[in-house]
């Protein structure tokens, strides 16, 4: 299965900076793509476009040849945000929030070191790294075909980081989920990904 972004242009407001211009990229669900670019370059915007949170001004996003917004209900492209506190409803206990995911399996809960007790708590009652692991679990629902991970491990200690990436690589390989990992850490990308993309270089080529 392919995830394609075709000739997409995007700016937030009509006078705003052109963040993407005639941008194209395509990946398979068997790939793990590492994305790098400087802070503020537009990595998060690209992630949001790919996962249907934003609509392109021009161009299209196709999943398996079909426009992404034609998929009803659960979106098969799931994004995990750099700031988990913005991705969860502050008034919803985690036991409710997890239902927004798609039948999250016990194996995923355990693999990410999530304590059953957390489900009775509100998001502010977890640490930054705990909430990040929760959001990751929620994105790994049954129908997820692509996972977009925007700097998901900077909030974790090195041991947990290493564990989480080990788990994630195994999980996406087994379930044939395509992974896009945004990171400032070149060593991490080398270890995790099957392909590397520097947005600046790609931009030049696209122009």
């Amino acid at each position: 299965m392919k995830l394609e972004i075709k000739n997409v242009s995007y700016r937030y407001t009509s006078k705003g900076r052109q963040i993407l211009k005639d941008f194209s990229l395509s990946m398979e669900n068997t790939e793990r793509v590492g994305l790098t670019a400087p802070s503020g370059y537009g990595k998060t915007t690209l992630c949001q476009l790919l996962s249907g949170y934003l609509k392109p001004n021009q161009g299209e996003i196709l999943l398996d040849g079909r426009p992404l917004d034609s998929y009803q209900g659960y979106c098969p492209v799931q994004m995990v945000w750099q700031q988990p506190e913005f991705a969860v409803n502050p008034r919803l206990p985690l036991g409710e929030a997890i239902k927004e995911g798609d039948e999250i399996e016990e194996r995923v809960i355990r693999g990410l070191g999530i304590e059953p007790d957390w489900f009775g708590r509100f998001p502010t009652e977890l640490s930054g790294g705990e909430l990040q692991r929760f959001s990751l679990a929620r994105a790994l629902g049954k129908r997820t075909r692509f996972l977009i991970a925007d700097e998901i491990s900077t909030m974790l200690d090195l041991i947990t980081q290493s564990q989480i990436w080990h788990f994630l690589v195994e999980e996406v390989e087994k379930r044939q989920i395509g992974l896009i990992a945004v990171s400032h850490n070149p060593e991490l990308i080398d270890r995790v990904c099957t392909r590397k993309i520097d947005l600046r270089l790609l931009d030049e080529k696209n122009r």
């Binding site: 937030y12 400087p38 802070s39 503020g40 998060t44 750099q82 700031q83 506190e85 913005f86 070191g113 304590e115 007790d117 009775g120 502010t124 009652e125 977890l126 640490s127 930054g128 790294g129 705990e130 692991r133 700097e151 900077t154 909030m155 974790l156 200690d157 090195l158 041991i159 947990t160 980081q161 290493s162 564990q163 080990h166 400032h184 850490n185 060593e187 991490l188 270890r191």
Partner: protein, 333 residues
């Protein structure tokens, strides 16, 4: 140390002239001293049943003027709560025990209220602390329209590659990394004596992250006490003087930066595991997770994951001095 040393590490090495001055200050009381801190949460389970979650237990940390201490440790080990405890901003259902002294005097509720945001500043972990309804400029200057404040802010922004136009924007109009730099700028507007930065650098590229750390280092060199909570051990080792290592709600080791050059000079098995997980030492991990507060083992809380664990480890574990550092492990020597 790594080959990509920036000027941040040089700034630590070149401080020898300031050393004397700093040593004089050191004879005075530490800027921050935390003794036997404990924090627990009251939780109401189904019905009226009440449980207490002792998330921080018997925690000690000390920061002197002129010193930069980095706190590293496992996810959920209590680093942010320590910061919130000092700042007096814990939630209502939290109970704090132990003793916090600031410049030799107890830091009581009334006192921290007066010093917060002035002499004592916090760079919070979450950018959700920014006011979403207030433009960046007025927010950082805290309403001040003085030309002095404006000029200072311009200078800080230039340093962090934020252009002046950002002052007119709202937090939602900025990228995560830009908001992060705004949070750092907020703390740097004051002339603090104590800075607590809770993960100031995630999502920033290496150059900007280094610049932020160098900036905190400068504040320390000017005499402030700086406590930086971070997961970026590599970066911490380039700028800090000492490292405090947290695990499951307490300090398991305090070591100098030099101790991290080799695994053997470290003291606690958790610190050693963390060392081996550094990218340049192979990104290795150990199985298992930090024990949940409700299932804490008696004695050493790292025991279930420790390769050297024995029956004695279930007994009382003292926090003691070993080779000039401190460690909470009976086997360290």
């Amino acid at each position: 140390m790594s080959g990509k040393k920036g000027n941040t590490s040089d700034s630590r090495k070149n401080r020898s002239d300031e050393q004397t001055m700093r040593d004089v200050q050191r004879e005075d009381a530490p800027v921050l001293k935390i003794e036997h801190m404990s924090i627990s949460f009251t939780q109401y389970d189904r019905g009226m049943h009440q449980t207490s979650l002792p998330v921080i237990r018997d925690l000690d940390v000390e920061v002197h003027g002129g010193e930069m201490v980095a706190v590293v440790g496992s996810s959920g080990s209590g680093k942010s709560l320590l910061a919130h405890g000092v700042m007096g901003v814990l939630p209502y259902n939290a109970d704090m025990g132990g003793r916090i002294t600031y410049c030799g005097e107890e830091l009581a509720k009334e006192r921290i209220k007066k010093l917060r945001g002035r002499e004592i500043v916090l760079v919070p972990q979450s950018i959700a602390y920014l006011n979403p309804l207030m433009k960046i400029g007025p927010q950082i200057r805290r309403g001040s329209k003085a030309t002095e404040a404006r000029k200072k802010l311009r200078g800080i922004f230039r340093r962090y590659e934020l252009d002046a136009g950002v002052e007119e924007l709202y937090p939602f109009e900025l990228s995560g990394g830009m908001n992060r730099r705004v949070l750092i700028s907020t703390a740097l507007m004051e002339e603090p004596k104590l800075v607590i930065a809770d993960e100031p650098t995630p999502g920033l590229d290496l150059a900007v992250a280094k610049r932020a750390m160098a900036h905190f280092r400068e504040l320390a060199d000017m005499g402030a006490g700086v406590l930086v909570i971070t997961h970026d051990l590599e970066l911490a080792l380039e700028v800090a003087d000492r490292i405090a290592v947290f695990y499951a709600g307490t300090t398991v080791e305090e070591a100098s930066v030099q101790d991290f050059e080799h695994e053997e000079t470290l003291r606690h098995p958790y610190t050693k595991a963390l060392w081996r997980a550094m990218p340049r030492h192979g990104f290795q991990y150990i199985e298992g997770t930090q024990p949940y507060v409700k299932n804490l083992p008696t004695g050493c809380s790292f025991a279930p994951r420790c390769p050297h664990c024995g029956a004695e480890c279930a007994g009382e574990i003292d926090y003691r001095i070993v080779r000039g550092g401190k460690v909470r492990c009976i086997r360290a020597e």
